[in-house]
Symmetry: C2
Subunit: 214 residues, 2 copies
């Protein structure tokens, strides 16, 4: 098997295959950000990336495969979690990262395009869910360490807390259209931290306990 | 000006114009739910609604105008806010309503289609934001009454609390793909209530005036 035909990740990062992948995925991201998923076309990607059409067809073969690989690359390239020493510090860093990404002139439209595509394409939806799964797993230790430090109750669902930080920012981007600024990011982090401290994300609670706390 | 040419809302609800509007918007919703925004076409809407093409062209004139009117109708038709007597009760009712809507076999795909369209069409985005604005205003009194009852701190931003209930459910629908079940709805309500009680949604003084004036 030639390096050209190898799967991404099986060759050394500096090799020709990795360079081709980076160039192609850059072109995919550019097209998505500028024109949206509906305008993504393999020949156009090859032309923009200045890569042979055969390479793109043989290695990815479909538009959804290109988007799935782009999302995988974005998950790999995305910033590692913060280690500020406090739950609120870590969650604010996470919220600010999400806010900066969604308001970035290239990344914002790119995310909108992929999310729009995922609403009507099952394979793109799967790739998108996988992207968020990787990002949530990256940040979950912030919550588990807060439990260890005694900042949060035992049994807090770390993934739910991380989702809770992102959710209000995506809601603003995709649904309500309210400003997506640093104040919104900080408030998202503060609300998630407050709810977590109050035990709202403790797993497997009995209904009677919820009623008692209400 | 004939009744036919009048704007929606200027004629009596039971009249022919209202019936035509209801039939046309039903067809628009069906097409969006079944095939998505890209397949929405005025001639097709007229055919499905069994209404003259001229009527649809003259009264709405564009696909985005049809979607904007559908969203207005959905906001008008949507359930009134709950009055359970407790913040958690009201927020759970809101969360369950959002969850049922987003998982409904017709409404779920319809919302996905409109949200996807809004990512690349400014007028649809504006209509969507208006829809959420109406819905948030409908439910905001639940929060203000909780402040009056002493359940929440003075200065709590009612709109932020209502957004916080919906956000995790939309995040699951559009981004992470996690299950959108009643447990997720209840948790969204509990987290929003807990964060609100902890003062996470108390407004800055400068924000307060803006909202009062809005």
């Amino acid at each position: 098997m030639s390096a050209e035909g190898a799967q991404p990740g099986t060759v050394r990062p500096g090799g020709r295959t990795a360079r081709v992948r980076a160039t192609v995925l850059r072109a995919v991201g550019d097209i998505l950000a500028e024109r949206g998923f509906a305008h993504l076309d393999l020949s156009d990607v090859a032309r923009r990336a200045d890569v042979g059409k055969t390479t793109v067809y043989r290695r990815w073969g479909s538009v959804t495969a290109l988007v799935a690989d782009l999302l995988m690359d974005m998950a790999e390239q995305s910033s590692p979690r913060a280690r500020t020493g406090s739950l609120l510090g870590d969650l604010k860093a996470n919220a600010r990262l999400v806010q900066r990404t969604l308001t970035d002139p290239r990344q914002g439209p790119l995310f909108k395009a992929v999310i729009a595509a995922a609403t009507c394409d099952a394979r793109t939806a799967e790739a998108l869910h996988h992207f968020y799964d990787i990002r949530i797993r990256e940040w979950a230790p912030c919550v588990r360490q807060a439990v260890d430090r005694g900042e949060l109750p035992e049994g807090t669902d770390a993934h739910e807390v991380i989702r809770a930080v992102s959710a209000p920012l995506y809601y603003r981007l995709l649904a309500s259209g309210d400003p997506l600024d640093e104040a919104a990011a900080d408030r998202a982090a503060e609300a998630a931290a407050a709810a977590a401290k109050a035990g709202a994300y403790v797993k497997d609670r009995k209904d009677e306990k919820i009623e008692r706390d209400a």
